[in-house]
């Protein structure tokens, strides 16, 4: 599932280049130009894909590591 999430992220990078309706002036719902409507949907899709990333690719060990004892902290921070 993790790999699928990162594949979706990669697909979003490709889907951003929507050259197929570069010159299309159709108004969606009568007032949003198609190219703008597509990118509004793209923003919503980005949010959805990141939601999937949180669910399936969340780095669960990071928090514990950050909060562990600070024995080595001064070594790095000095």
């Amino acid at each position: 599932m993790r790999k699928l999430v990162w594949l979706l992220v990669a697909l979003l990078f490709i889907a951003h280049q929507d050259f197929w309706w570069w010159d299309d002036r159709t108004l969606v719902m009568g007032f949003i130009p198609l190219g703008l409507f597509y990118h509004v949907c793209f923003s919503i899709a980005s949010g959805a894909v990141w939601l999937l990333a949180l669910k399936f690719a969340w780095p669960s060990t990071v928090e514990d590591w950050a909060l562990e004892d600070k024995a080595q902290s001064s070594e790095a921070g000095s």
Binding site: W22, S43, G47, W50, P59, V62
Partner: protein, 528 residues
């Protein structure tokens, strides 16, 4: 007069918020610099979102849509939504964890430790500060211009001339308000203020859209006029090039190297606090940008029909920077909305300004004073006051520079600042994901990127828009400037990346001890 009263109420509310926040301020330097790493998901998100959105989100997006049509959204908003969240997820969370564990407060502290080299920190310090200063100036000068715009003709007795509150005064008041709440409660004060400011500018944009649409006979009629009188603004053909559209992907990477965002990340209570930010960021960008883009293209149609009047620039073209204000003034004619919009623009400006003041003050305190004098040289209380003193000094210095720079075209510099930070992104990414990254690779990458940046900067005439390979696109594709070309940021980014890789491979690998500190098994889990 109603408009300026609304702005005054808004500023007064910010001061009240600053005073209330002092009740939660713990009086320690850790609370001043990173809010004791205690911010929850909502405040963290609002703080980060408010910091990344500048006046450009309201004013610049509308004027760009007026000039270049709907492609402005894809160029900036949808790229930012995707790339910012990717950076928060892949870089921000790891930086938070490392910062939390090892007690870092600034980027230079992190890079110095990660590459086991004070040289890296000292090399990056002036570059990071130099790139943030124009960004701060834009905020102060933009705030002055906003107040001047809404008060024109209202105080002829007091200020003479066109009767507007002068920029030096409003810029000074805005700087003072930000200084007060930052001085009182540090990053926590800035985060609370950002939360309030983000709410203000999101609501202001939506209300402006509704009232302007109503005054134009509804959104359907307003957009229909675009198709009839400014059809090119409803598409991208002839206004934005496909390579340019792709190259803009690099610009939002700047959030990975912004020193003020680095500091914001460290304020999180936990890694989980990032979740809301990662998911909601693209949606909120859409909520702010969509109304502005629609208002921008509607303005283009109204201008084409002669119903919208805009002041002319010396070259005879309409001044696109005032499109949003002109649409509100000429079609809504509501002092209340004018005031709300001005408050919204100020909110967008100030929500970035406070974090920038804080971060520069923090960097001077942590990367210069305590680094040279030694961590143990000062008590916590002394460190807190050194931080406060530097914040005051930064505010005064940037305010004075803004007075000297009045009348100069400082806005185009913003893209160059963003490009500079974005070009250095490979360094922070490699520091987290590539063990082999060496200090010599980083030093070489910083120097080469700075050189390439400066070369393009002077080629542009010191701050104007600049596209590469324009002649090639014209000869081979029949496309003319500014429709097609490669943005310098793409070349700068690649220069940094290639130098970093080659430089690191040709020089000794980092010590195992350093790698063990920064690449523990627990941090492996982020990429697939």
């Amino acid at each position: 007069m109603t408009a300026i009263i609304i702005v005054c109420i808004y500023l007064a509310l910010l001061l009240v918020l600053g005073v209330v926040c002092t009740r939660y301020f713990r009086g320690t330097s850790a609370d001043f610099f990173v809010a004791s790493r205690s911010l929850g998901p909502f405040v963290l998100f609002m703080s980060i979102f408010g910091t990344t959105m500048t006046a450009f989100a309201l004013v610049g997006s509308t004027s760009n849509a007026f000039s270049f049509g709907i492609g402005t959204y894809g160029l900036m908003a949808s790229w930012s939504g995707l790339v910012h969240s990717a950076v928060f997820f892949l870089v921000g969370i790891k930086i938070w964890a490392i910062g939390k564990r090892y007690g870092f407060v600034t980027q230079c502290q992190y890079f110095t430790a990660r590459f086991d080299s004070p040289t890296v920190g000292y090399l990056l310090f002036p570059i990071l500060v130099a790139l943030v200063i124009p960004y701060v100036l834009i905020g102060i000068m933009g705030a002055g211009a906003t107040i001047e715009g809404i008060t024109r003709g209202q105080f002829p007795q007091t200020f003479g001339g066109d009767g507007a509150i002068p920029r030096w005064l409003s810029g000074g008041v805005i700087s003072l308000v930000v200084l007060i709440y930052v001085f009182l409660a540090g990053v926590r004060g800035a985060a609370w203020a950002n939360t309030f400011q983000t709410i203000v500018f999101v609501i202001a944009g939506i209300i402006a859209l509704k009232l302007i649409a109503d005054s134009l006979g509804g959104p359907v009629k307003a957009s229909q006029l675009v198709i009839e009188h400014a059809p090119e603004k409803a598409a991208r053909q002839g206004l934005i090039g496909r390579w340019q559209f792709l190259c803009y992907m690099f610009v939002p990477l700047s959030v990975g190297m912004f020193p003020h965002l680095f500091q914001n990340w460290l304020t999180a209570r936990s890694a989980k606090a990032f979740r809301l930010t990662v998911v909601a960021h693209p949606i909120f960008i859409m909520l702010v940008w969509l109304p502005c883009i629609l208002i921008g293209i509607w303005a283009a149609a109204q201008f084409a029909t002669g119903d919208l009047r805009l002041p002319r620039l010396p070259d005879g073209s309409p001044n696109a920077n005032v499109v949003l204000a002109a649409m509100v003034n000429q079609f809504v004619e509501s002092d209340f909305l004018t005031g709300l919009l001005a408050a919204g623009i100020l909110a967008a400006i100030m929500s970035s300004l406070d974090s920038q003041f804080m971060c520069v003050g923090t960097m001077f305190t942590k990367d210069i004073v305590t680094r040279i004098a030694g961590e143990d040289r000062f008590s916590d209380r002394q460190t807190l006051w050194i931080g406060r003193s530097f914040v005051i000094a930064v505010v005064i210095l940037t305010y004075v520079i803004s007075l000297v720079a009045q009348g100069k075209a400082i806005f185009p510099l913003a893209v160059w600042c963003f490009s500079g930070y974005a070009s250095l992104f490979p360094i922070v990414f490699a520091s987290l994901y590539w063990r082999r990254t060496s200090k010599w690779g980083v030093i070489a990458a910083v120097l080469v990127t700075a050189g390439v940046w400066f070369y393009f900067f002077q080629e542009s005439g010191y701050g104007d828009e600049h596209l590469l390979l324009v002649d090639w696109f014209e000869e081979n594709k029949g496309l003319k400037h500014p429709v097609e070309g490669i943005m310098p940021v793409a070349v700068m980014f690649m220069s940094c990346l290639i130098t970093l890789i080659v430089g690191s491979l040709l020089t000794p690998a980092p010590a195992k001890k350093t790698i063990d500190l920064f690449f523990p098994p627990a941090l492996k889990g982020i990429p697939a």
